[in-house]
């Protein structure tokens, strides 16, 4: 409806940076709504205005609807971009924004309720005769009922947060003996991450591929799709590597799934960017859920289609984006995204926190980096471990894979351990290379995580020699980093014993 000139960002990290850049290009000012913990971040340094909305714990800041709205109003913003995660799929928030006179950059509260709530989305899809995975999405959320439903559906069963996404509040039940523990764990995670402990159950397809379609509803309500992405490489239901387009779809499947995605978006009166997720197994596809927001992996779609989804979102909210019927969009080449997590690849993926030293992302044609933290910033244990995304494009999938491996080998991240060695192994695995990986790829091939292949004594000796020269070169001081203690007192992974994930 509205013309606006100042956009509040109810998010953090790399997506806040992404939104700030889109706003800058459109000549809009930004207001970063940040927690006390995020003062040392790129988004904080880049935003035109910023306001602290609460302490580090998400419930008191990024998930606090009132604090976000008050912050946006106090700084004179006229619109709010929620990014992804946090309040991005919260219909109450969308509604509260509109009630406070702020334009919510995303679908209407009604559309979020219809499509974003997995229970009502399934009901709508069922009515329209769209293909669904068998499951339970009833209102009775007692442990007893959920346990009975798990048995009725038949193992394996997956428990998911109704309000969720991103792998949080999601647990797999393989045996009845662990059902109660897994359900309760999912409920706690759901409550902590999304503020609602409602879960639903779904039959777990054990050799499925995760395929999703980017949909977009313009200012007039016309919904189109921007083709597909494949995100089968997941660990603990968290995506690690995404690509566009999927190497697994025939043209016929692509057309059919695209039609289902557009049908669902149209039925849900969808405006702005959304994603319809499917599972594909044995040539059959099942509707999984709709994410009523921008996705973490949106850049791969942007790369193969030459679009800017964040700008499209903002323009749609301003009533300035209308699909051009004469424009034919065809994906070109292949794009891959790797999520860089602050974790130790050699210790089962245990989170790694602390002060960042040098961070260097190697430049080159069609290499793109989305990151929210730089040298001198601190990675804390309060938030998601994703510190950056690397995105590449090339003419073909094999070349894109080669390029991504080069990029990861050349990247430098000091201060926290990252999953870069893990990503390189995955990208080099024959099953990934030939494109046949399923959502169980990690479980099947990397269940034990990575094993260190180096000789520890040799490495230590080498490091001691390097340290001597380092001191001799007059570099004994910290890397220009005056911020004192590195968060975890002992950073050395060889000192503490990790087990159990």
């Amino acid at each position: 409806m509205s013309k606006f000139t100042r956009v509040a960002i109810a998010n953090r990290g790399e997506v806040a940076v992404r939104i700030i850049k889109a706003c800058e290009e459109l000549g809009l000012e930004t207001v970063l709504l940040h927690s006390e913990a995020d003062v040392n971040s790129r988004a904080y340094r880049m935003a035109t205005h910023k306001v602290c909305i609460g302490p580090a714990p998400t419930a008191e800041s990024y998930l606090n609807i009132e604090a976000n709205i008050q912050g946006a109003l106090a700084m004179g913003a006229q619109a709010v971009h929620p990014g992804f995660g946090f309040l991005s799929e919260n219909a109450h928030f969308a509604q509260a924004c509109e009630q406070a006179g702020l334009t919510f950059i995303g679908p209407s509260a009604e559309a979020i309720r219809t499509l974003g709530d997995k229970v009502s989305c399934k009901a709508l899809a069922k009515k329209a005769g769209l293909p669904l995975v068998p499951g339970y999405e009833g209102e009775d959320q007692t442990l007893n009922t959920l346990m009975k439903e798990v048995e009725a559906i038949g193992l394996p069963v997956i428990v998911k947060a109704a309000a969720g996404g991103g792998g949080r509040g999601m647990k797999l039940i393989k045996q009845m003996s662990e059902a109660a523990e897994q359900i309760e764990s999912a409920q706690r995670e759901a409550k902590s991450a999304f503020g609602s402990e409602v879960v639903f159950l779904e039959k777990y397809l054990d050799r499925a591929k995760h395929i999703e379609f980017q949909i977009f509803g313009d200012s007039t309500g016309k919904v189109m799709h921007l083709f597909d992405r494949e995100c089968s490489v997941q660990r603990r239901h968290q995506k690690i590597i995404e690509e566009a387009t999927s190497p697994s779809l025939t043209e016929e499947l692509r057309r059919k799934m695209g039609e289902v995605a557009v049908t669902l978006g149209t039925l849900g009166k969808y405006k702005g960017a959304g994603t319809v997720e499917f599972l594909l197994q044995d040539g059959k596809f099942y509707l999984l859920e709709v994410n009523t927001r921008l996705q973490v992996e949106h850049p791969v779609t942007e790369e193969v289609l030459g679009v800017d989804l964040v700008k499209m979102q903002i323009l749609t909210a301003q009533n300035h984006f209308v699909w051009n019927d004469n424009e034919v969009r065809i994906p070109r080449g292949h794009s891959i995204e790797c999520r860089i997590y602050a974790e130790n690849s050699y210790m089962g993926g245990v989170p790694s926190t602390g002060l960042l030293g040098t961070v260097h992302w190697p430049e080159g044609p069609r290499r793109r980096y989305e990151f929210g933290f730089e040298k001198g910033d601190t990675i804390t244990s309060y938030y998601d471990p994703m510190i950056a995304k690397a995105i590449v494009w090339d003419e073909s999938r094999p070349r894109a894979i080669e390029k991504m491996i080069r990029v990861l080998k050349d990247a430098t991240v000091f201060g926290v351990h990252t999953n870069i060695p893990y990503l390189i192994e995955i990208l080099s695995h024959p099953e990934f290379v030939d494109g046949t990986m399923t959502t169980r790829f990690i479980e099947k091939n990397f269940a034990e995580g990575l094993k260190a292949t180096h000789n520890e004594d040799e490495r230590k000796k080498l490091s001691q020699g390097i340290y001597k020269k380092f001191i001799a070169s007059g570099s004994g001081a910290d890397a220009g980093l005056l911020t004192a203690a590195n968060q975890g007192q002992t950073n050395s992974p060889w000192l503490s014993h990790w087990r159990g994930i």
Partner: protein
């Protein structure tokens, strides 16, 4: 960041970070100085001492002193970076002490549970 013998080196806090070719690793400075070489490995891996593998919050404690536990049994649950991590026993034994309670914010390396050594 410095280049020494074609290797990237940087001191961040009390840790030395090194990148050689495509491999990155780090050591606590104290382990690289001559003093550190004499330091005894006191905190090495031991399955009877369950330590926090990362900084975070304790969200659930399943065991108490004197409980018998089996291999793979969940002892407690931690939350960090919005994910839950279950710490499990690698031993079939009994619980000696439990030094963590729900809602504790713990540092990496903090001892949470001690099991009776076998």
């Amino acid at each position: 960041m410095k280049l020494i013998d074609n290797v990237q080196v940087e001191k961040v806090g009390q840790t030395l970070w090194i990148k050689s070719g495509d491999k990155t690793w780090s050591y606590d400075i104290i382990d690289l100085s001559s003093e550190g070489q004499r330091r005894k490995k006191s905190n090495t891996a031991s399955p009877d001492v369950i330590v926090a593998p990362m900084p975070g919050k304790i969200t659930k404690v399943f065991v108490k002193e004197g409980d018998s536990v089996t291999v793979g049994q969940a002892l407690l649950v931690m939350e960090a970076m919005k994910m839950e991590y279950t710490l499990k026993s690698d031993l079939e034994t009994t619980v000696e002490t439990v030094s963590a309670k729900v809602n504790d914010q713990v540092q990496v390396g903090a001892v949470l549970v001690k099991l009776v050594k076998q």
